[in-house]
Symmetry: C2
Amino acid sequence: MSRPNDPIDALIALMARLPGLGPRSARRAVLHLIRKRAALLRPLAEAMMAVADSARECLNCGNVGTEDICEICRSEARGNGLICVVEDVSDLWAMERANVFTGRYHVLGGTLSALDGVGPDQLRIPQLLTRLEAENVTEVILALNATVDGQTTAHYIADRLEGRVALSSLAQGVPIGGELDYLDDGTITAALNARKRF
Amino acid sequence: MSRPNDPIDALIALMARLPGLGPRSARRAVLHLIRKRAALLRPLAEAMMAVADSARECLNCGNVGTEDICEICRSEARGNGLICVVEDVSDLWAMERANVFTGRYHVLGGTLSALDGVGPDQLRIPQLLTRLEAENVTEVILALNATVDGQTTAHYIADRLEGRVALSSLAQGVPIGGELDYLDDGTITAALNARKRF
């Protein structure tokens, strides 16, 4: 099935480049799409074109949206002095699904990494410093992933912001529904050290 | 993240309807696409539109392609009197990847199923009978899946074709690279019964 210029083969090759799809699942997805040409394939193509035409990164926080300044940064209600710093847009979406944070975000776009040559200037850290005054920020919440790279980045940002604004980070401990037997030593240690009165 | 009319949310909802992608992996795929707007998202949208405009089922064999009669049915060289009957286009693609079969195909589009109300007329079986004379078929190879439904369908087709054309089916036995310890009883029984001189 390697006919040059065949539109079906071309579509399979492009679909296989999506995260989570390999060649086999790309073929399966394309066959499914061909069977549902009117109900799924055409709407999907149109939705992709619409996103390709309109999607952009928010100039203020790095969130993706369809305007130069995203909905969250435009909302007056969310300008309450709290900024939650996340690594990636997917983390921002996860926070929004939890539907508990009422402030604004700042998406770093990755973590510091000497190996990969990612320094503070690649991570929108200068923009975060600018926002402190511009948006009268009172507290910066570091919601970076609990990985080595995430925590290294959190410490770097904490150093840069120290004394200028209140700093906090997400609590570490036993996840809701978690069983001790399945937790790693680090999590149990963190949960024990951060224990609270019952 | 349930804003009505947001193109990104709309795209995520459509992507989540692909086989192999759920809501989480659809979000991941869409973020990836937004990051690679020029390199992947736009080409993918265009490839989908091209397939939506051109893909159709071959009127002769049921394969998918971009013409009313598919490449394989158009090829004179493949009209060698052999027809390989498969359940689905994905099976046809698997046979073509093996690159060993030189005849034409007939895609049933499923298996007989009393429960789901799938009878012979839904399965392109009448068209198969028509092709026997029209294409001077000498042998029909039943390459249906080794499942109960597949084998039931194979027996039904064998009954219908008996005496009109030579019939064969794929051999059953130990797969290449297979280890006996990991094989089911049915496969071992089939392999033993069909043993051949060394």
